[in-house]
Symmetry: C2
Subunit: 708 residues, 2 copies
């Protein structure tokens, strides 16, 4: 976006010494009135300059007739006037040397191409003058740390603000308000709530970097519909990781229909959604489905440490809830394992005879007659090896139950155990009692297990070694500048040669120009071979019958070559050569691929190979660089991963070698630096453990800029 070096500027945006409001209103319910009302309510210590030619005073602050009339240049200007007036105000701000203008006014790119042109021109003038723009069509920014509430959201009237550890940054004003409201409903304080609107200039990613400089911020939550500056968000992710601050994001438009709806109001092109997933995973940004899930994850994370393992201990006063919680945990990839014998014995000593003490722990309705049961049971299980986290499920409470004591016991336990604790309680008063003690509470087991599983995933991401484990032992990798082809594609032999340069193991093949050289190649290989015509003009040769397999005599080889030559002639292809390749045996056919995404850069694909690679949909994506452990983790989530472990009497396959191929493909893709549009390697033949994996066929597609 060209502003990567400038996001330090945004500090004055978040901490302005003075704020002008163009279109200031005395009515605190008008868009031009709300920010003044809020700044006064929240003790903003800087100078407020209401601009209103009609009034001497606005909401008790001295008003000014125009920007020109101001005694000093404000750090920040809020533009809350409509149409042409807004453009004029922005131009004036730029002229006066205002640092940033928040353009609340609508009627720009969201209305179509004329509005887009207006917006682009206005932004270009501002940039030329060195001014940043938030918006247009922005709900504004709010910093409850210093009372700089340059925002007109109704939500601060509906739900009382409280400063706290969370920063919310959203393209959509509605979503920023909703996330704020959901957090506050859960008793969580919010410091920053920023909405970027049309993002003519300042983006969510830049603001994420900016709020991460606020030491009070311990959690950053994003709502995105488009993402153009993946590099800036990656920098925010790195900052967050450094500071140990979880970064959780909703990126909506997951489906085609959703992406279409998003494009209709953001105008942004959509990347394939699973690439977005791979990007978030690569940078350790947890991706929530919607603002509700986002806030549920935030609550668990704010209330305690991340889960360090997948094992959940369930405690409930209802046997049915024990079952539902176990189901939910397992469905979210967590584990329910029995408690250690000594823990069970200790529980048996404390619980009535018909309670179950394995895991889940059903303390039964005995809770009704002994309100101290939680306090007696919890410390016993705190250090059990089966316990990475705790789910406490109270489906029924009310008259006769001492919920205050349950909550106090639970909070004390959560603090002492140093492990995450989630309570499930659907009754509002029960939930509120636990929340008041700082315990995370969910309406049902699915929500609790989902939050636990997601934060465990975040722990795993944080724990992984992101550096490639070792460099590929490369010869002299190709210079991508020298790549050229008469078509968009490299021929198979060029493709294989390129991959081989980057250390991938490729088929044992010879390039041949005619029947004699082909026969000579076969004699050298001294085994059955495949004969494949090879031309950059024919990327999909098998569709033309230009592949002959299992040839093992001079006669068969010459005959096959003759037939292929005839076909090539019919197809009017004159530059073809041939590949003679040793027929290979192996256990499984996998596929490797690479695509260069315009936003996210190279993306590596790995999965089931063969003819039906698309229909089988058994693939995983990774963003390079990554190491073999990352690849193996991904393979383990695929069907082919199960086969590679060796089922039905098969020996285990060489997953490590396959993973190594993927790592080297990733290195190749990074080195290509956008010069390659895609690479398809299918099949990659995987052999038994220790015997390697071989790329048998490959097709490299150059990007437009590389085409000659």
């Amino acid at each position: 976006m060209g502003f990567n070096s400038r996001h330090d500027d945004l500090n004055t945006l978040l901490e302005p010494a003075s704020v002008a409001i163009v279109g200031a209103s005395d009515n605190p319910d008008k868009i031009g009135g709300r920010p003044i009302f809020y700044m006064r309510r929240h003790g903003y210590a800087g100078t407020i300059y209401p601009i209103n030619p009609q009034r001497a005073e606005v909401q008790g602050e001295r008003a000014w007739p125009s920007l020109d009339a101001l005694p000093a240049t404000p750090d920040l200007a809020i533009v809350a006037v409509a149409g042409e007036q807004a453009v004029q105000a922005v131009d004036k701000c730029a002229e006066l040397g205002v640092s940033t203008a928040i353009v609340i006014s609508a009627g720009f790119s969201e209305t179509g191409s004329a509005g887009k042109a207006l917006q682009d021109a206005m932004t270009a003038r501002a940039r030329a003058a060195g001014m940043r723009i938030v918006g247009p069509n922005s709900q504004g920014l709010a910093n409850f740390g210093n009372g700089a509430i340059a925002c007109f959201s109704t939500m601060f009237l509906e739900v009382e603000p409280a400063d706290g550890p969370v920063a919310v940054i959203s393209q959509s004003g509605g979503m920023s308000a909703m996330i704020y409201g959901l957090l506050r409903q859960r008793g969580i304080g919010v410091r920053h709530m920023h909405a970027t609107g049309n993002e003519a200039d300042v983006t969510v990613s830049e603001l994420a970097c900016a709020v991460l400089r606020d030491p009070q911020v311990r959690m950053v939550l994003l709502y995105l519909e488009s993402l153009q500056d993946a590099d800036v968000l990656a920098r925010a992710a790195a900052l967050a990781r450094e500071r140990g601050v979880p970064l959780i994001a909703v990126k909506s438009g997951r489906s085609e229909a959703g992406a279409r709806a998003a494009a209709s109001h953001t105008g942004a092109m959509a990347s394939e959604d699973r690439v977005v997933d791979a990007y978030f995973e690569h940078h350790g940004i947890l991706r929530a489905r919607d603002p509700h899930e986002l806030v549920r994850w935030a609550e668990l994370s704010l209330r305690g440490p991340l889960p360090r393992g997948p094992r959940v201990v369930v405690v409930s006063n209802s046997g049915a809830s024990c079952v539902l919680a176990s189901d939910a945990a397992v469905e979210h990839g967590l584990q329910i394992t029995p408690l250690a014998d000594r823990t069970q014995q200790a529980l048996t000593d404390r619980l009535p005879g018909y309670a179950t003490t394995t895991n889940p722990i059903d303390i039964t309705a005995a809770l009704l007659s002994n309100n101290g049961l939680f306090g007696q049971v919890l410390p016993v299980i705190a250090d059990d090896p089966a316990a990475d986290m705790f789910l406490i499920d109270i489906p029924v409470a009310g008259r006769g139950y001492d919920v205050e004591t349950f909550a106090a016991d639970t909070a004390e336990f959560a603090a002492a155990s140093g492990k995450p604790v989630a309570v499930v309680a659907w009754q509002e008063n029960v939930a509120a009692t636990f929340r008041a003690r700082g315990v995370a509470v969910y309406a049902d087991e699915q929500q609790a297990a989902n939050a636990m599983a997601s934060l465990y995933r975040l722990h795993q991401w944080q724990a992984r070694d992101t550096a490639p484990r070792h460099d590929a032992e490369q010869g002299t990798p190709s210079s991508f500048d020298e790549l050229s082809s008469p078509s968009r594609f490299l021929s198979e032999s060029q493709s294989l040669a390129l991959l081989s340069d980057y250390g991938l193991t490729v088929a044992d093949y010879r390039c041949c120009t005619d029947a004699d050289t082909a026969v000579a190649a076969w004699r050298t290989i001294n085994a059955p071979v495949a004969l494949k015509a090879c031309s950059a003009q024919l990327p999909h040769k098998s569709e033309h019958g230009l592949v002959a397999l299992r040839l093992n005599s001079e006669h068969d080889l010459r005959e096959a070559l003759h037939r292929q030559a005839q076909t090539l002639k019919d197809l009017n292809v004159h530059d073809a050569t041939w590949i003679v390749a040793r027929m290979q045996g192996g256990l499984h056919e996998c596929a490797l691929g690479m695509r260069h995404d315009p936003v996210f850069g190279p993306v590596i694909m790995i999965g089931s190979g063969g003819k039906y690679v698309e229909a089988m949909q058994d693939v995983a994506l990774l963003l390079p660089p990554f190491n073999t452990e990352d690849v193996i983790r991904k393979l383990q989530g695929l069907r082919i991963g199960t086969l590679l472990t060796g089922v039905r009497g098969d020996p285990p396959a060489d997953m490590e070698a396959l993973a190594e191929q993927a790592v080297r493909l990733g290195q190749c893709a990074l080195a290509a630096n956008g010069k390659i549009a895609s690479i398809d390697i299918n099949p990659v033949l995987v052999r038994a453990q220790g015997q390697g994996a071989i790329a048998l066929d490959a097709l490299v597609e150059l990007s437009n800029s590389s085409e000659t």
Copy 2:
């Protein structure tokens, strides 16, 4: 369970003319006091007989010293005393001719084997005397239609009861109370709330049949942890279908850990969970994941008709919510399709210029300045062909918004359109305003789309033709009584013959006893053949190398047979014969299977075949009888279903023929009536459309009772 003919008895349980309470307490917060308190509060018009030797009066009702002292035999007795006293009271009730005893007392099968023996003996005595038992360990039954509240739940104190169209029946008392509470939170009236506890006698299924006889009941919700009387629940489902009453159930213990937890407190064996799914689908019982989902589905269903198609129209005052709602709809299998041109034109006339009018419809923040927008927009879209249902998403409202008008307009629209309408609103006051108008409201788009998709599935189930489309043209099907085998298995030739009798197309094969007959068979077939040794003692012959493929000369055939004979001798198998079968070509290898489940009867499996059938996990289950349309619908949900349609240049495969094979296997399984434990047919070779599907290998396993 042996009581199938008796559930009519349960009418006196739901409408007792008199209720005795053994262990009656004057304290309305004691278990023996609550039912009396509730019956008086809810105007129970029958006679209440508190049994308490210590008091002359209990909560204003005349008390009696013992059951023996009662002036008449009560219809119903609530046993709320502990231990041995409970058993004595039950015995006394049986002796006196009480119709049903609700045993609230715990300490029976849930405590282990001694408690189980006590419970079994008590139940046997009661049954012998003609008395039914609810429980033990039951929270009791409550009928708000007549005030017969034989239940001690705390929840009726926490959440005010209101009679209504819903019946809740649960094994777990806690879950019945929670479902009741969740329904009441949503403003839905509940007539029946029954908990069966240990189910020594009366089951959830029986009570489901009973409440369906109450004409006021328009919705039956179940919570199950075990299901032993699948036939009775099937009858309830048939009754519900007849009456047009949705039957929605939670069956928990979906995961192994959950099933283990359920078994630990119900003692019931678990069926494989996907068999439970197939059973519910077969009987048109919608299966919810947990009580929360159950209640969300119930709300949408009670508020309007079922969706008759998958197309959702989304309307929101936030572009972001339009995106999230589209994502949620698509993720739940629903569709977002553009509105008709004339509808879009009509919308354009009514909405501001920057609103989007395709679908989703973003009415934008203009709603703030025109509170009538909903009323203007909704009627325009009511009859659009893209609209099977409506999702109205209001992520932000509050000061300045006339939510009352939105709600009134929406309710009017819902009534007029005759299509389901769901509102998404997370703000409690906004949700409450819509609910007060009888509109279904969800906290987020995921929940709304999930409910819509589930009810659309129910509509599809109700619309399907459950009768098989035509009878298999059978010759004279085998009599299963005559089946016998020296092992648990039939040999391959016996297995194929059995399937052929039921009209399945099987391999073209000959049974041979030696090399000469094998050669003769090959000459008759006059094409390459497979030679397979055939013995009931060797069900897994390929593991022993007893399958030779693509033989097409006398020499090869004799040599292969000689090798196999040697192997058989080494394995000490002397009863073997051989199958000589024509080698078949086809497009795809599928698999068919059958398992006899002890609770649910025969279950048919269909999916991807070949060596890795288990590892691929690409199978669907169906309960017979079903027709080819049912099978094809299931195939369409599988990866193999995509391949069968013809991808990567393949012709479409004969899915119809494969489905027909499955239908006939279902008929065979039903005819076997439990005599066959399992059938594995793998591969079923599927050819191009019109060219059929052939079972190439089959293995029939007899049930224990059939083994000779």
